[in-house]
């Protein structure tokens, strides 16, 4: 029942700025916990501290690792004089795909839930923050979303997601029906609850949920794309490879090391995965101040990106710089390219193997436009984790809200399994199963008591 009505007590968060590239992104948090959550994720610089309604400079940190995510601004505003009428915190971070999403992920980890479309406005309205004219407008927005969500729901219905979710819900319902039948009909001649059967059935659902949750990374990649950096020493042919991938002459290439000093950003499509590629300045020990700045930025850029393409030169030996680059790349999904295959081999493969282990490098000659097809294929495999794009029938999660609901459902199912092992009272076991079904119900719709009773009466002959 709880998912039928909007929850107002929870603290919600969302990226309020439009998606895509942008200098700054605003992440808004509203609700009773918003200030305390902001204090966990944001550390003001120096001794400045937070003060009401004043932008404050500082760092976004990941409380789990303690690491810095970004430098940012933050402001806290107290109820009732805010947009929603609740306590609000806003974080102004750098824009783009990576940082805001990371911030949102940390916020949900700290207890915020993702805001439903229009939920800030809805809360503003419910808290009496708007006049009639505004309320009219909100009503229009919400009803527009209704139609859209209807279309969305229809699309999902035809698709595989709701089918799958309903199937899993159905399996949980079977387990629940067995427990409930024994609770409500203790004098009926029905078999006692078989713990093993319940465990096996729930574990199989749990496994399927886990697999779906894991598919989100792939799914999200296909939907939102991946940021990628091409990294390598100067003049190994990074820009040439970029041009080959782009099939145009975008970057200026020359035999002079250090031709690329700033970043070049391009979008390409690899097997359906949208890639945002940054070609960086080559990395070398350099005295040129501007270039050194470029090098540092290159390494930083690599750390921020999701995928790193390391380019090595067939005609030079593997040196300390290559190793440094490979070490940076190893923290990410990455792929190693040996370019200039048309030249004489100086790069010792045995040394490289010791660094790469079982990872196979791709060999190309950007100049001769050779090996580019292999490179694309290898990039796809590294990213998607399989040689081919999954066909449409295979279910992949693309929506973070779906993923969150499934994670909740899985955790509740795990709790059920744990309590089952501890021989907890059946009415307690029932709560976890119901919670798990309700979490799945957030994706597709409700499970009603009628469904449950229907299941009980169809499976057990009740009738003392």
């Amino acid at each position: 029942m709880s998912s039928l009505v909007p929850e107002r007590e929870s603290t919600i968060a969302a990226i309020s700025t439009p998606p895509g590239e942008g200098g700054v992104a605003v992440i808004r948090i509203s609700g009773g916990e918003s200030h305390s959550i902001a204090r966990k994720i944001f550390v003001p610089a120096g001794n400045s501290g937070f003060s009401e309604r004043k932008l404050c400079f500082g760092k976004i940190i990941d409380p789990e690792t303690g690491g810095t995510v970004d430098e940012a601004l933050c402001v806290v505003m107290s109820s009732p004089d805010t947009y929603t009428g609740e306590d609000i915190a806003e974080i102004h971070s750098h824009g783009g795909h990576v940082v805001p999403r990371k911030v949102l992920e940390i916020l949900t980890g700290l207890g915020a839930t993702l805001a439903a479309p229009g939920e800030f406005t809805q809360r503003a309205f419910l808290n009496g923050k708007m006049d009639l004219a505004q309320a009219e407008a909100v009503s229009d927005i919400i009803s527009a979303q209704t139609e859209q969500s209807l279309r969305y729901a229809e699309a999902q219905l035809e698709g595989t997601l709701s089918g799958k979710v309903n199937e899993l819900k159905d399996q949980i319902l079977d387990v629940l029906a067995e427990i409930e039948a024994n609770l409500d009909f203790p004098e009926e001649d029905i078999d006692p609850v078989a713990k093993n059967r319940l465990r096996e059935a729930s574990e199989s659902v749990e496994k399927e949920l886990s697999a779906l949750i894991d598919s989100y990374d792939t799914g999200r990649m296909f939907r939102d794309g991946v940021t990628m950096v091409i990294l390598g020493k100067p003049n190994v042919g990074k820009s040439s490879i970029l041009n080959c991938l782009l099939e145009t002459q975008r970057a200026i290439v020359s035999p002079i090391a250090g031709t690329t000093r700033d970043f070049i950003e391009e979008r390409i499509n690899v097997g359906g995965i949208p890639l945002v590629i940054t070609d960086t300045a080559g990395i070398r020990d350099t005295g040129d101040r501007i270039e050194r700045l470029g090098v540092e930025l290159s390494l930083k850029k690599a750390e921020e990106s999701e995928f790193v393409l390391v380019v090595l030169d067939q005609s030079t030996e593997l040196d300390a710089l290559d190793r440094k680059i490979l070490k940076t790349a190893a923290k990410k999904k990455h792929l190693v390219v040996i370019n200039k295959m048309d030249l004489e081999e100086k790069l010792e493969r045995s040394k490289l193997r010791r660094v790469l282990g079982r990872k196979k490098p791709v060999e190309t000659s950007a100049l001769a436009k050779e090996g580019i097809g292999r490179l694309r294929q290898a990039m796809f495999e590294t990213l998607a984790g399989s040689p081919r794009a999954s066909d449409a029938s295979e279910l992949v999660l693309t929506n973070l809200r779906h993923k969150k609901s499934m994670e909740k459902a899985r955790d509740q199912l795990r709790m059920f399994l744990e309590l089952l092992e501890r021989n907890e009272y059946p009415e307690i076991l029932s709560i976890e199963l119901r919670n798990s079904m309700n979490s799945l119900g957030e994706i597709t719709g409700e499970v009603t008591t009628e469904d449950l009773l229907g299941r009980i009466f169809s499976r057990f002959c009740i009738g003392k």
Binding site: P6, E136, T146, L183, P186, D189, Y425, C461, I462
Partner: protein, 638 residues
């Protein structure tokens, strides 16, 4: 005109079954002059079907009735010939009380309870027509042409409206074996514009206990230490009677299958829908062909009779087939049937035509309760009767209505389900219908509802004092368990180990130790130096569950709190759903028909989406804003 005919009652109750009795007693105890009209005074408080009260879910209802100041619990305790606690190996929330009752003493008790109430008059009359005054009900007219006038009316006719009994292919117009149906009242429902439907229920044949070979049967005794329904103290000392268990077998099923063409259920004669949880033996055999036996309980009908109620073989097969299949069972080879089993079809009123007080939305001051609203079971009927009687009395006194929420009582769930969702089979209570099962327990019904019952003037001061004393004892003991620390020492740890529990390394509160799996309140006594000897085992068990459920109860209460806002957000009665943009036609039609009283109730109407609720919220706020604006304008000096 004689003075007599001018007499007007505050409440008239039609029918004196389980709903009617509670309604009349509640209204009378809330100081209303009350007239009870029944077609047969000898059947006041009659248990028409099985001779038992309570069970999982149903027992919860009886406890709630008692906690509010109703009568059913006390009647059941008095008439009980066997007490059984169900689900004793599960947690407190699903443990429940059930008794076998002596049918005669139950109705004797109930009739006397009604007769003892100075505000109640009882008259034998068959009501045929409602008297209406504009949009309000004004009284009733009987089959003999008598008219009775009242401010309010509580209608509890059971299975009598349009009652039709089936035994084999024979049909008899009747509400209960041997009693005439109430045909005219059904027409009156239609005249007033009510939508009705047909439901079906059934009852088994009754056996002559002298023809049963008892020594061949499995015996089932009651509890050694019987626990009464009523919260008022009183030890049960009456001698208990056993029940016995037999089973159908393949021969039984063969006889039934071979005669299926004579069953009105399977020949299409019966149109009404029967309950899935109380199927006839024909249904069981057809729908579960893989089962080679079904359990049958043989329950005594009372102390002073040999009549036996075989629970589990409700049937409408012809009497000779009833004989034949009964005699296939162990212990019943020579059994004689005293009364035949039968199915009964009857009219019910679509309960979505009622508000949450059980008052009709079509006509003011007329309340409906019991089987006529599509429920089954004595407990469900009594719960509604109580609430209808209370609300009729409150209406008379010009006071606010009394409605229980889903998180407050099973009674609240029952009525909310009926008036929000309607019924498509006879409705029975199950604990699985409750969202907040851990909060709604039998053991805490007094704590949940006592103050409410007292507040409306139904629960007397004396009983309220008992309730409060229990509450204080419970709360202070819980506080003590939280504050009292056990320090780790050799003696304590040895005791803990002997109890099969782990040693402690640092001081722990008694509560933390009690929370350990398998640790009981009784066990706590061994390490609790300041144990309170006044805590009864019953209260101890309650304390134990409060502690063990604590985390879950807290979470459920938080959920309740969250949703309460929506329950409090009222929807104006004349709300125009059609004028709201963004609501689909289907949703507009549904909401216009059900007329939910709050946003919370609206969210439970089947097929209503969260998006529709959001749209609704916006418009309610808007309407309210307009009203306030209008008020400001009209009150400002012009």
């Amino acid at each position: 005109m004689s003075l007599l005919s001018l007499k007007k009652y505050e409440v008239i109750v039609i029918g004196a079954g389980h709903a009617g009795c509670e309604a009349a007693l509640a209204a009378a105890r809330m100081d209303c002059t009350t007239l009870v009209l029944t077609a047969n005074i000898d059947t006041i408080g009659l248990m028409s079907c099985n001779p038992s009260i309570g069970g999982v879910g149903k027992g919860h209802l009886v406890k709630e009735i008692d906690a509010l100041g109703g009568e059913m619990g006390k009647a059941a305790d008095t008439a009980a010939i066997q007490f059984r606690r169900l689900n004793t190996r599960k947690g407190a929330a699903v443990q429940a009380t059930r008794i076998q009752a002596d049918r005669q003493s139950y109705r004797t008790y109930m009739k006397k309870a009604l007769e003892s109430e100075p505000n109640i008059e009882i008259k034998q009359a068959m009501v045929e027509e409602f008297l209406v005054d504009g949009k309000k009900v004004a009284g009733v007219k009987t089959a003999l042409g008598e008219k009775f006038f009242s401010d309010t009316l509580v209608v509890t006719p059971g299975t009598f409206p349009g009652g039709l009994i089936h035994i084999g292919l024979t049909r008899i117009s009747s509400g209960r074996a041997g009693e005439a149906a109430a045909g005219a009242i059904s027409n009156s429902f239609a005249d007033l514009g009510f939508t009705t439907g047909r439901l079906k229920t059934g009852t088994p044949p009754r056996f002559d206990g002298r023809t049963i070979e008892w020594d061949k049967l499995e015996r089932q005794d009651g509890d050694e230490d019987p626990v009464p329904f009523s919260f008022s103290p009183g030890k049960i000392t009456t001698e208990q009677m056993p029940c016995y268990i037999t089973y159908t077998n393949e021969e039984t099923h063969r006889v039934i299958n071979e005669n299926m063409d004579k069953s009105p259920l399977y020949s299409g004669l019966i149109k009404g829908i029967g309950p899935r949880y109380c199927p006839s033996i024909e249904d069981k055999v057809v729908k579960f062909p893989d089962r080679n036996r079904h359990q049958i309980f043989l329950e005594p009908e009372g102390r002073n009779t040999y009549e036996i109620y075989p629970n589990g073989i409700s049937t409408s097969l012809p009497i000779e087939v009833q004989h034949e299949f009964s005699r296939t069972m162990e212990g019943l080879r020579n059994v004689e049937i005293m009364r035949p089993g039968y199915a009964v079809e009857y009219d019910f009123l679509d309960p979505t035509q009622l508000g949450t007080t059980l008052e009709s939305k079509l006509l003011a001051n007329i309340f409906f309760a019991g089987q006529v609203n599509g429920t089954t079971g004595y407990e469900e009927a009594a719960s509604q009767g109580l609430m209808a009687g209370i609300n009729a009395a409150l209406r008379v006194k010009g006071k606010d209505p009394f409605v229980l929420g889903r998180s407050e009582a099973y009674i609240g769930i029952l009525i909310d389900d009926l008036v929000t969702k309607g019924v498509d089979e006879p409705y029975r209570m199950f604990t699985s219908r409750a969202e907040y099962r851990l909060i709604l327990r039998e053991d805490n019904a007094d704590l949940r509802l006592g103050e409410l019952g007292h507040g409306i003037g139904l629960l007397g001061d004396e009983r309220m004092e008992e309730f409060r004393a229990r509450k204080t004892a419970l709360e202070s003991e819980l506080a003590r368990l939280e504050n009292e620390k056990v320090v780790p020492n050799e003696k304590t740890n040895r005791i803990l180990e002997n109890l099969g529990s782990q040693r402690i390394k640092k001081p722990q509160s008694l509560k933390e130790i009690l929370r350990r799996p398998g640790f009981t309140y009784e066990m706590l006594g061994f390490i609790d130096s300041a144990a309170n000897p006044d805590i009864s085992p019953k209260l101890g068990a309650q304390i134990e569950m409060e502690v063990k459920y604590e985390g879950y109860i807290k979470r459920q209460k938080e959920e309740v709190g969250k949703l309460q806002k929506f329950e409090n957000m009222k929807i104006p009665e004349k709300f125009e759903y059609g004028s709201i943009p963004g609501l689909s036609n289907e949703i507009v039609q549904k909401l216009s028909r059900i007329k939910p009283e709050s946003v919370g109730q609206a969210s439970r109407v089947s097929g209503i989406t969260p998006a529709a609720i959001s749209v609704l919220l916006v418009h309610i706020r808007k309407t309210r804003g307009l009203e306030q604006e209008a008020q400001l304008k009209s009150s400002s000096p012009s």
